[in-house]
């Protein structure tokens, strides 16, 4: 349907609001009163909250108006339930991080203004990544996310670890985006167009050689694999996650990764696959050309999760352990990618939504502990279950959820992924993944063990309580609720994920006249 410019822009309210907040934060930071402790943080959090609200409203609007998707800017950007789902996830992450970072003393002393400005820009980048359907837009969106992330990783300027994280991130990141750009240039050259739909059409009509396109998509996969930290482009992850400020690490492992998956799904499924029947888009996808890439992705998934799980064993730093765990989880999420079916994509979305809460929660626990005077080594967590019962309980719940034990959300996410695999005949893959998740228990439980099985007080009076403050307590609770709730009753989330995949699937070439 052809819409007027203004009506079109109404679908961009979240992005616009985000940009306005960004401007306001910069203005306040530069021109605001000197004694404005915490004001910037509050402004940024409010703006993000409002953005989140607009995302939800737009989501509803898409549903109530039965408008599956709205194309903007000469078809280079699309607002559809799929993109809204990722905006929702990223919005929630940014909002939580903004709230949390407000109480991190070191960020405050280093300059709140910069932190929130960069955070908002990265969020905007993810919002754009969720919606782009054009190579140029894709590159711009990815860099909008990446460049501020490099700075955020090195936000503690005097800190060796943070600087090192930042350097490694920028060098690996720039190399990855360079390779990706080289691949993208060839995609453009082979098909003569920069739009995803156009490339797909070029392959379908036989004008572009599938083999060459696949090769070049392999180069693109380097860039995107870097973003989601899939093997063999995961090398930066542990160092960057360990060295960065924990709030940034939490952000990189959740929102940034979700954005990477959004663009990965959109790009590959737009270019290399087509829904079987237009009326039933949540169903099977037909590969365009050679479907060999699914096997490649399956192998990458297996290698990624295995490397992540095996390397996590011997870690002594909680952040580093969670970094390897997040590599492993990238592997699990990729599983949904290989089945070429709506159920697999739905499982990915579902898993990402649950993963975000549990992983964010785990990192928030780390922040809360170090803000309360603890450290980031596993040994610093000794007896924590007794010293800070609520925090210990939350951390244990998040870790068990990451392992995939019922009745927690992570279990349900894994079930959906495995179910998609089994349904489409990838039983061996699901067995490998299931064994992997069983093995991962070992290192998650090590943290739980340190928290509960060590430093057990002999008498009730022996406990030295660790006070984490109500601010962190409430935030942890906010992460805990979905982690448990979606493990017991997940029908609403499953519906949302299914709808988000189903309604937005067909990114096919549209008739010519539409945007002339």
């Amino acid at each position: 349907m052809q819409l007027g410019v203004v009506e079109n822009l109404s679908f961009l309210t979240p992005e616009i609001l985000l940009t306005v907040t960004l401007g306001a934060v910069i203005a306040l930071d530069i021109g605001g009163p000197k004694d404005r402790k915490g004001l910037v943080a509050r402004l940024a959090a409010t703006g993000l909250g409002a953005t989140l609200l607009m995302v939800i409203l737009t989501y509803f609007e898409l549903e109530t108006k039965q408008r599956a998707r709205v194309f903007l800017f000469a078809d280079s950007f699309v607002v559809d339930p799929f993109s809204m789902f990722f905006k929702l996830v990223a919005g929630v992450c940014s909002f939580m991080i903004a709230l949390f970072a407000a109480k991190v003393r070191r960020i405050e002393s280093q300059g709140e203004g910069e932190f929130y400005t960069l955070l908002l820009v990265t969020t905007l980048g993810i919002f754009l990544m969720a919606g782009v359907t054009d190579l140029v837009g894709m590159v711009v969106a990815i860099e909008t996310l990446s460049i501020p992330s490099y700075i955020l990783a090195g936000f503690y300027k005097r800190d060796r670890g943070s600087s090192e994280a930042s350097l490694k991130y920028v060098l690996y990141g720039a190399t990855a985006s360079g390779s990706m750009l080289f691949g993208l240039a060839f995609l453009y050259g082979l098909s003569g167009t920069t739009s995803f739909q156009g490339i797909s059409a070029a392959i379908a009509s036989g004008r572009a050689d599938v083999l060459s396109i696949s090769l070049m998509l392999g180069l693109v996969l380097i860039g995107l694999g870097f973003k989601i930290s899939a093997a063999p482009f995961h090398m930066w992850t542990p160092d960057v996650y360990e060295g960065s400020p924990t709030a940034v690490t939490a952000y990189l492992s959740t929102a940034s990764k979700a954005g990477g998956f959004a663009i990965l799904i959109r790009l590959f499924y737009s270019i290399l696959a087509r829904p079987e029947v237009a009326s039933r888009p949540e169903g099977q996808w037909i590969p365009i050309g050679d479907p060999g890439w699914t096997t490649l992705v399956a192998v990458i998934a297996v290698v990624t999760m295995t490397i992540g799980n095996l390397a996590a064993y011997k870690q002594t730093n909680v952040k580093r352990l969670l970094a390897y765990s997040s590599i492993a989880h990238a592997g699990y999420i990729l599983l949904g990618f290989v089945v070429m079916h709506g159920s697999g994509l739905m499982a990915m979305l579902f898993y990402i939504a649950t993963y975000v809460f549990m992983n964010l929660g785990a990192f928030l626990c780390v922040i809360a502990v170090s803000e309360a005077g603890g450290g980031e080594e596993i040994s610093d967590f000794r007896g924590l279950g007794w010293r800070a019962p609520f925090l210990g309980f939350c951390m244990a719940a998040f870790l068990f959820s990451l392992t995939g034990l019922p009745p927690l959300a992570g279990f349900v996410g894994k079930v959906y992924l495995f179910a998609a695999l089994v349904e489409h005949g990838w039983v061996w893959l699901s067995v490998v993944a299931a064994l992997n998740s069983a093995v991962s228990l070992y290192y998650y439980v090590r943290v739980v063990k340190t928290m509960y099985l060590e430093g057990i007080p002999r008498r009730a009076g022996d406990v030295v309580p660790l006070r984490i403050g109500s601010h962190f307590g409430i935030m942890l609770f906010v992460c805990l609720v979905p982690t448990i709730l979606f493990g017991i009753y997940w029908q609403p989330l499953a519906r949302l994920a299914t709808w988000s995949v189903g309604a937005s699937a067909p990114v096919e070439a549209r008739p010519v006249a539409a945007h002339k």
Partner: protein, 508 residues
């Protein structure tokens, strides 16, 4: 609709939540609430016993509700002859264990909350008639168990707890994949949707989809078997058992041996056999052979132990072997025997572990060779131990004998020469069982006092009222069901013969 089973399952959970909300320092109140929360299922169990129809193999006390309609997961609870015995046993032993753990020193609140959560998990496993629900309960059990062993256990508790956790989880993820394979290959003829309903999965033509393929059914059966075998535990997956049983606190050892082990055999009865009857027939001999290995190997290991608790733990391995032998026989008598053995072992092994706990609490060690002449100092306690030992070694008139005898009869009735040989070989286990029990009895209780370790005798006091309160109900049941087992057989017989007929219907 009747909510009896849901109440039995979730009242303990409610109790756990109430306990968590209590303020600190109210230990006595915590214990009372825990006793009440565990008492309710036992009380309701009485109605279950009364109301259970003995003359049918059908599901009873059925509760059904949609849980996740999108995935067609149902909240479906019911009991039949296979599970009712286990449900009653769980209610009884959990209640007793609350009292057995009355003296827990540290973290009372956490202990009882986790214990009640564990009871919910166990009840749920035996009542769930939806595969997904079953799996959830199966896994939910692991978490409290890990903490109960890991926090309140013995010196090597951390190792034991993680070993138990890892073993079970590896087994159960395989089960998860098989569960999904079944889900996607079976369609409910009524609703025309995929289903997790165990009854539908059982009565389907499971030879559809990829389950038709050569080897897939074998793999599915073996994966399920491994998942359950780890829990039983079947040789060679048994190595977690001695560690977990020895390190766990007394009450938890009782739960482990008395109920958790039965989940393995229950799982075979409830899921592996009915869902893949042809494979059950195909691997019957294999299962029986493993059973015989368990019997003999467990008994030999038990004989070699100097740690009393470890000896009891290995005796469990041996006794669960009888169940496997009975199950492998694929005869009604064998199935009934296996079930009876599960019931009997639940009672007897609970007594054994409670007795071990009694002496350990007093002298803080369990080395058989350091004792001697206890019978003269603590005659009542010695009487209980002797009674439990005799029940365990299968003295006629006590229920252990009934279970073992029925298993042997069932195995013999199978009729093939290989089963005759297996049965004959398995009787060796009775001999060995008698040997290690009597030997331990003699070394600990009879003869002279130990001359080197004299200090300990100052601490040895007679069994107290609370401990007797735990042991006596079990002892009464052991005698009752040993002399007159008919009521127990009545409960299970219909379902067992129906299951046997169902499996026999599908040749290899």
């Amino acid at each position: 609709m009747n909510h009896l089973l849901s109440l039995m399952t979730f009242v303990p959970l409610l109790g756990a939540l109430i306990i968590l909300c209590l303020p600190k320092g109210k230990d006595e109140m915590v214990k009372c609430i825990a006793a009440c929360a565990a008492g309710v299922p036992l009380f309701l169990g009485f109605f279950l016993w009364k109301g259970f129809a003995r003359n049918t193999a059908a599901m009873q006390f059925v509760e059904k509700a949609d849980w996740i309609p999108m995935f067609n997961i149902q909240y479906s609870m019911a009991v039949d002859g296979i599970s009712v015995v286990m449900v009653l046993l769980t209610a009884l032993i959990s209640f007793i264990c609350i009292f057995a753990s009355w003296e827990i020193g540290k973290g009372v609140k956490g202990y009882f909350a986790l214990f009640l959560l564990l009871e919910t998990g166990m009840m749920g496993v035996f009542c769930a008639m939806d595969f997904f629900l079953f799996y959830v309960f199966w896994e939910v059990m692991l978490l409290p168990m890990y903490f109960l062993i890991g926090i309140w256990g013995g010196p090597r508790k951390e190792y034991a707890a993680i070993k138990f956790f890892m073993y079970t989880l590896v087994g159960s993820v395989l089960m998860l994949v098989v569960m999904l394979v079944f889900y996607f290959n079976v369609t409910d003829p009524v609703t025309n949707r995929h289903t997790f309903d165990l009854l539908v999965l059982r009565n389907q033509d499971a030879r559809s989809g990829s389950l038709l393929l050569e080897g897939v059914r074998d793999l599915c059966f073996l994966a399920l078997f491994v998942g359950f075998a780890i829990k039983v535990p079947v040789f060679p997956f048994h190595t977690w058992l001695p560690d977990a049983h020895v390190e766990a606190p007394t009450a938890i050892s009782v739960i482990l041996a008395g109920i958790l082990l039965k989940m393995g055999t229950y799982g075979l009865f409830r899921i592996a056999f009915p869902l893949l009857p042809d494979m059950a027939n195909k691997y019957a001999t294999f299962i029986a052979v493993l059973g015989v290995i368990n019997i003999v190997y467990g008994a030999l290991c038990a004989m070699a132990q100097d740690d009393l608790k470890k000896m009891v733990a290995y005796s469990s391995v041996s006794h669960m072997g009888y169940c496997l032998l009975g199950m492998g026989a694929m005869t009604t008598a064998g199935f009934n025997g296996a079930m009876m053995q599960m019931f009997a072992h639940g009672l007897i092994t609970s007594m054994l572990f409670l007795c071990v706990g009694v002496i350990y609490e007093r002298v803080h060690h369990r080395w058989i060779s350091r004792f001697g002449g206890l019978a003269t100092i603590v005659p009542v306690y010695s009487g209980f131990v002797a009674f439990a030992f005799f029940a365990s070694l299968g003295l006629p008139g006590l229920c252990g004998f009934i279970g073992e005898a029925m298993c042997f009869i069932g195995a013999w009735q199978n009729g093939t020469p290989s089963f005759h040989r297996l049965t004959m070989f398995a009787t060796l286990g009775i001999l060995l069982g008698a040997a290690f029990h009597l030997w331990a009895l003699q070394r600990m209780f009879l003869g002279e006092k130990n001359k080197i370790y004299t200090e300990q005798y100052h601490h040895v006091t007679e069994i107290n009222g609370r401990e007797m309160f735990c042991l006596i109900p079990l002892a009464i049941l052991v005698v009752l069901s040993g002399c007159y087992p008919q009521p127990v057989f009545d409960l299970m017989n219909k379902s067992m013969s129906e299951l046997q007929a169902f499996i026999a219907h599908y040749p290899k």
